[in-house]
């Protein structure tokens, strides 16, 4: 076995040193009835690197990967180009095979990059501070709702009509253990401003996504004002953070907490995970103390040199146990590093250009689709994703396009269930889409209608 360094001589010598006669003596505490004498049933024996690689390569070929097709899927996960240096750097042993930085003297690499990540996220979202990541955007949204309820000591939460339905379901599932009054507004295009009507003096928070699940941009400012007027908080959700290079940040518009999916910077599609949840908030002691997850903070060492440590840990489960702000322990460490490196390579100039490019390409495609018979762009505004009404069943059309080798977007029914928006298709465009991809989409869509 290539991963196991002990040989039979070692094992014999070690058993002798321990003072037992066989390895099974070390497993004597397992109840006799539950002991497994032979090998695990139904599993093959160990396999060579070559054999394993062959098996996985065969499996991989059974999927149509995004890079092999004109590709227009978004809906909370976006395909952007990630520079080669990002993947190289995150595979450095010192980043890849390190644990949570509980011994700061020998974990400054991880800690400093987390501190840099927190700063980048705070800047991008227009907030004061950010934590060191959560699992993904949807779980970050659920944590933000818990956080808002603790801060306001209120129990009512309103989910806006444009919130990704999987995010809404994640939040609803996450609050089952407590007495929250969840108001999930009926999904609809352009209806996000309606959350104001649901506000009252019992409302802990409203959760509003922009760009929303249909791609529509939402002006958060009036919503923030209305929420604050009754003592409620605005949680702003973003599933495509590249948008923040071009549109006003949620912080500028008055958000109190931002929960976002960071996948589209530095991280691939990976069939849904691992991704990276961003959580940012105001620099208010009450907020920070109620925040979930880890924070890296600046300090000095015994000799006065600047360094970083995990801090404010009394919020966390390993100290606070059942009174912790969250049960989270493992986060998205390596994905935060990929995010941070990609964003460092882009910088201000690069991110703004990338965002402008995404938007411009999306505008070009939207105009081309709108000109097709039987297709109508539904959005008033958008960043790089928009919804179109098609003549016919969007799910069937997407299947037909896939047969023609085009991954032409996400039928809204995949997100909302059938019966709602059956004729709506959600299309995302990024810098990776070429003119030829647009031609292929337009042609196969026209064909499938």
């Amino acid at each position: 076995m290539r991963y196991l360094p002990l040989n039979e001589d070692d094992r014999a010598a070690m058993l002798a040193r321990i003072g037992v006669s066989s390895i099974d003596d070390l497993f004597a505490d397992i109840p006799a009835k539950a002991r497994l004498d032979g090998l695990i049933e139904g599993l093959p024996p160990h396999a060579s690197e070559m054999a394993v690689e062959r098996h996985f390569t065969d499996l991989s070929r059974q999927s149509l990967s995004a890079g092999d097709a004109p590709f227009f899927c978004g809906g909370g996960a976006y395909r952007h180009h990630v520079p080669a240096s990002v993947d190289h750097l995150i595979q450095r042993s010192e980043f890849l095979t390190a644990y949570t930085p509980y011994q700061p003297e020998i974990a400054q690499g991880t800690l400093q990059t987390l501190f840099e990540f927190q700063t980048q996220v705070a800047q991008l979202t227009g907030m004061d501070v950010a934590n060191a990541s959560l699992y993904d955007g949807s779980t970050a949204t659920a944590e933000a709702v818990h956080m808002a309820a603790r801060i306001t000591r209120r129990r009512k939460c309103v989910l806006a009509p444009g919130l990704h339905p999987h995010y809404a379901q994640t939040v609803q599932t996450a609050v089952q253990g407590e007495t929250m009054d969840m108001q999930v507004m009926t999904p609809a295009m352009g209806a996000d401003a309606g959350v104001v009507d649901a506000l009252d003096d019992q409302t802990a928070c409203i959760v509003v996504q922009s760009p929303n699940v249909f791609g529509e941009l939402v002006d958060l400012e009036p919503l923030a004002k209305a929420a604050h007027a009754v003592g409620a908080l605005l949680i702003a959700v973003t599933t495509e953070v590249v948008a923040l290079g071009l549109v006003k940040s949620p912080g500028e518009m008055g958000a109190d907490i931002v929960a976002a999916e960071g996948q589209s910077i530095g991280n691939g599609l990976s069939f849904g995970g691992p991704y990276v949840g961003l959580l940012a908030c105001r620099n208010d002691r009450k907020f920070i103390r109620q925040a979930p997850g880890r924070f890296a903070g600046e300090t000095v060492d015994e000799a006065g040199k600047r360094g970083y440590v995990l801090t404010l840990s009394t919020r966390e489960q390993h100290i606070r146990r059942e009174k912790a702000t969250s049960n989270i322990c493992t986060n998205s460490g390596l994905c935060t590093l990929a995010f941070s490196i990609h964003l460092a390579l882009l910088g201000e100039v690069g991110l703004r250009k990338l965002a402008a490019l995404n938007h411009a390409r999306a505008c070009v495609l939207a105009d081309r689709l709108d000109a097709l018979d039987g297709v109508q762009v539904l959005n008033q505004s958008f960043f790089n994703e928009f919804a179109v009404r098609v003549q016919g069943n969007a799910s069937q059309i997407v299947e037909d396009m896939a047969k023609a080798g085009v991954l032409g977007g996400i039928p809204a029914a995949r997100l909302f269930g059938t019966g709602k928006f059956d004729d709506v298709l959600i299309i995302a465009v990024t810098e990776t889409n070429r003119d030829e991809d647009f031609d292929a989409l337009v042609a196969t869509l026209a064909e499938a209608l």
Partner: protein
């Protein structure tokens, strides 16, 4: 002769001495390069990415264009490489040396798995592509499920949980759903949690709305059965038990514990953090477990990545299988389909845990690990992990004080009795290990032991490596007992930084860089 005058001394001429505290002008120290913050070395106008020109278009941003700068620093690619390579060199890592963090299972991370996770059929597929186009990815999830079910003997597996704590929550929510269906949610309120448990256990039970009742340990470090019997009753929803427990001990009475809880109508949640000790030696099913999460980033070697990402699939007994969360995988003719909506489901999923289907990148790595080992290798993994831990327990007991008598499973627990009256604390001892080139063990956990030191070497350490480690620790222990405290209280002296002021970090939190600081 034709004298070539380029000769120079090629053997050292000094006396071998060097100033104790040599100050350098650059701040760097040889290979240890000084590296400021990204925000100090980068600049907004710098960029390490070339992008095509933006085509003509009429903006459709609804008047929400950003009008303020973000202030993000940029770096060219060579500058970025330096920044991150320099920072990486300030980290300890498994690839650098023994990483004996108890309960964390810091084993070797095979690079084949990294390569396979990057195959386009796994890494470059979208979670919401038509299911007909992702049969390879779904097939991989099905294979992973089969392996996890075979190893544990359980009836079903839920793949969505994104880490161990998320898995605990998944399992406990299944239990909650089962209790709710029985109409007992108002009366079954109590979850029994041993005081030696990970903090995530009580935090999870609380997140599910249960009340936590702590179980003390007996003198052997296991659940105190006398007290357990007094606490069992019709209001018990579940017991959350880590097995082997956080003291590195197998809960001998586990079957009786399961029976007691089941007879009272409750469920047995097992924290699977320590599965690495028992794979192929027993099946979780045969221990009476109803739900258990499996940390793929521990037992199945997906890299820890400085704190994540992980993955925490949950195996379920027949009594709980029906409540597994969305989405889940079903057979569809020759292929596979994902059930994503409750309305498509014949079961009673408790809900949805996150936007998509789970940690695909971790699934690929974990399955590659399992196939590489096979049935024989996985059993050998547990045997070697337990052998290595017991070997260290035997060797270190010469100078250090084991917390409990007898053999251990995959990790060895010591207390600080051997440091009594030396003036050296567990923390000092751990920091001195850093100077010896080792990552410290888990310290001050579990809470049931004074000054705990929990050592988990894993199966991927050679005997030579264990011997070197034991030699160093034994010498340190002797030194502490001989009164050489300065070496400990000043440690680490040889790490990139000395001990850090955590009080200052917590009293006046600085959680981000700010321009005004520059």
């Amino acid at each position: 002769m034709a004298m070539n005058s380029t000769g120079r001394p090629t053997a050292p001429t000094g006396d071998g001495l060097c100033p104790d505290d040599l100050k350098t002008f650059s701040g760097s120290r040889g290979l240890m390069q000084q590296e400021p913050l990204l925000h100090e070395v980068g600049a907004p106008e710098k960029c390490g990415v070339d992008l095509p020109d933006v085509p003509e278009h009429t903006a459709r941003l609804g008047g929400l264009e950003r009008d303020k700068t973000i202030g993000l620093p940029g770096l060219s690619e060579p500058e970025a490489m330096r920044h991150y390579v320099r920072l990486s060199q300030r980290n300890y890592a498994i690839d650098l040396g023994l990483y004996p963090l108890g309960s964390c299972t810091m084993k070797h991370n095979p690079r084949l798995n990294e390569k396979l996770a990057r195959l386009p059929g796994f890494a470059d597929v979208h979670p919401l592509q038509p299911q007909s186009t992702v049969q390879g990815a779904l097939g991989l999830m099905a294979e992973l499920s089969d392996w996890l079910v075979a190893i544990t003997g359980m009836d079903a597996v839920a793949l969505p949980p994104k880490a161990g704590a998320h898995g605990e929550w998944c399992g406990m929510m299944c239990i909650r759903a089962a209790i709710e269906e029985r109409g007992e949610l108002d009366t079954r309120r109590r979850v029994l949690v041993p005081e030696s448990a990970h903090g995530t256990n009580p935090a999870t039970a609380a997140a599910c709305g249960f009340e936590i009742d702590e179980l003390p340990a007996d003198a052997t470090g296991r659940v105190d059965m006398e007290i357990l019997r007094t606490k069992i009753g019709p209001d018990v929803a579940a017991i959350m038990l880590t097995n082997p427990n956080t003291g590195g001990l197998f809960e001998r009475d586990i079957r009786e514990i399961a029976d007691l809880v089941h007879e009272a109508g409750g469920y047995f949640y097992c924290d699977g953090a320590n599965l690495n000790a028992i794979m192929g030696k027993t099946r979780v099913r045969d221990l009476g477990v109803d739900a258990m999460h499996i940390n793929l980033h521990k037992t199945f070697s997906t890299p820890h990545g400085g704190g994540g990402p992980g993955a925490g699939p949950v195996v379920l007994s027949k009594r709980l299988s029906n409540y597994a969360p969305l989405p889940y995988l079903v057979r569809n003719g020759d292929g596979w389909a994902l059930i994503e909506e409750a309305t498509q489901s014949e079961a009673k999923p408790f809900g949805r845990m996150s936007a998509f289907h789970g940690q695909m990148g971790m699934f690929v790595r974990a399955l590659a690990y399992m196939m590489s080992h096979g049935a024989d290798g996985l059993r050998q993994v547990s045997e070697d992990a337990v052998l290595n831990a017991n070997y260290l327990l035997a060797r270190l007991s010469e100078e250090m004080s084991p917390a409990f008598d007898g053999v251990c499973m995959h990790e060895a627990l010591f207390d600080d009795a051997f440091l009594k009256d030396t003036g050296v604390t567990t923390l000092d001892f751990a920091k001195a290990m850093i100077d010896e080139g080792y990552h410290p063990m888990t310290m001050y956990f579990p809470l049931i032991v004074h000054g705990a030191m929990l050592i988990e070497p894993t199966e991927t350490e050679s005997k030579e490596s264990l011997d070197r480690f034991a030699d160093s620790l034994l010498l340190l222990a002797k030194m502490a007992k001989s009164g050489d405290t300065a070496r400990f209280t000043a440690a680490p002296a040889l790490a990139p930084l000395r001990r850090l002021d955590e009080t200052r970090a917590a009293r006046t939190p600085v959680l981000r860089w700010k321009a005004t600081d520059a």
